[in-house]
Symmetry: C2
Subunit: 273 residues, 2 copies
């Protein structure tokens, strides 16, 4: 399998809090475990003071690269629609979804003519803001349709989502402070990287403050980045402390280990004699 | 689909630390989201002072129930082999694996005669100790073969494993204190239950101290159990504290939000004009 059709196993997610947007992605792509590369999955499009968009991409690398190139060239050529012409974030999501599905359709028809059958699907996390409107966050499916973040847990994930979900689930709310949400994002990403070889550093993080219509803060954190290492170290220390502060079992309090009892309902052992 | 062939979506895992064994399971079984039941997935077999075994099961409910019944009846009838006759934990794992694959084979042949094709597979987490020997922990596959825990991260999981893996991965080592490992198990289970509807309370937890050859401590924690609620509450508090102790981003320290910079390598935005 060539890199042109490399399947990205990845972890990408976006968070929308009251104070802004966070986007976070790993940088590992692979076409099998013996063909691993580093590609940025984060692309940003900025017209300062007017509009800011950012995409994270998962899926077929040729598809995602083609879509990003087209987003740039359409805007440069001032065609309509483009990221420069769209009047709302929803129109922007619609435009990205249309480009993505058209790209896949084109590739699939060539593929069919060759008698092969490749998965050209790609998923995008898409966030941004247009002046005078609130920031928005979308997940754009390979089919070109899209959803916004759920109301209670305002984040959207794609790729290898499960390892990093519990921490987002426990922490992220609308009123979570922007930088707090960004630190939570780094922890969520670290949990995935530890667990899954196909998710790997460098980690890219975009912290966009609502109404700034600016580039925001963008970090590119390699594995041995001092800040990233300090986050990991302190997080592990914090978890151990959290664990030490959990309540004792009843038998620890009574200091007796003879009886089978707990603070939960006791469920006696069947004793086979 | 009847409950006889209900597929258990579940989360079961075992931990082996120097001081003993922890086994933990949820209690939700389902044959589709509209057919959810509560069944214990933990079964224990004890001959005090001589031997203790415990199984956690995932997969086809009819298969796992048949295997557990047979484990009990073989021991009661004093046949060889049985959990009472086996001379080592490995022999015991072999015996459970053989029973499991024989049960599946029998069901599959009846199924084939009926012209249907059902998945009768079941996976067991199997731990225990025989007097004079160390405790051991195995994962027994549907094929009847088995593995012990990995040396560096001494735990084994089956079912919906991903949500609960990061905390085990960060905390569990050989020298983790027994009760500390047990609290970590409850957190791991809670992460899965929060994330996946097919994993649900009550939670069963077995804490077995090495060389006790006793029933150990067994908890049955319903959703509104005060101890379980206190664990969740303090864990959430501890996580928020851990998050608050993470290092600040560079722009927070300098109190300037104008420049796009971080402590990581700066990755400048492409600015489309």
């Amino acid at each position: 399998m060539s890199l042109r059709v490399a399947k990205i196993m990845t972890y990408c997610f976006g968070i929308k809090v009251d104070r802004g947007l966070i986007l976070c992605s790993d940088s590992r792509t692979n076409a099998g475990v013996d063909n691993v590369c580093i590609y940025s999955k984060m692309h940003t499009f900025l017209w300062p003071g007017d509009r800011m968009f950012a995409t994270l991409s998962a899926g077929n690398l040729a598809t995602t690269q083609a879509v990003v190139k087209r987003l740039n060239s359409d805007a440069s050529a001032n065609v309509v629609p483009s990221l420069l012409s769209v009047g709302s974030m929803q129109d922007a999501a619609d435009y990205v979804g249309t480009l993505s599905s058209a790209t896949q359709r084109e590739q699939a028809s060539r593929d069919a003519a060759n008698g092969t059958k490749t998965n050209f699907g790609a998923t995008f996390i898409f966030g941004g803001q247009i002046a005078g409107m609130p920031p928005e966050l979308y997940m754009i499916y390979p089919q070109g349709n899209y959803i916004h973040e759920p109301p209670k847990h305002p984040y959207l994930q794609t790729g290898e989502t499960k390892y990093g979900k519990p921490i987002l689930d426990r922490v992220i709310r609308h009123d979570t402070a922007l930088e707090q949400a960004a630190r939570c994002a780094l922890v969520s990403m670290d949990s995935s990287i530890r667990a899954n070889l196909t998710v790997g550093a460098p980690v890219e993080l975009l912290v966009y403050e609502r109404d700034s219509l600016s580039a925001g803060h963008r970090l590119y954190l390699t594995e041995d980045d001092p800040f990233a290492r300090e986050v990991k170290k302190r997080w592990n220390e914090g978890l151990l402390l959290a664990l030490q502060n959990l309540p004792l079992f009843a038998w620890e309090q009574s200091d007796s280990q003879d009886a089978a009892h707990g603070t939960g309902q006791v469920f006696p052992f069947p004793v086979n004699k």
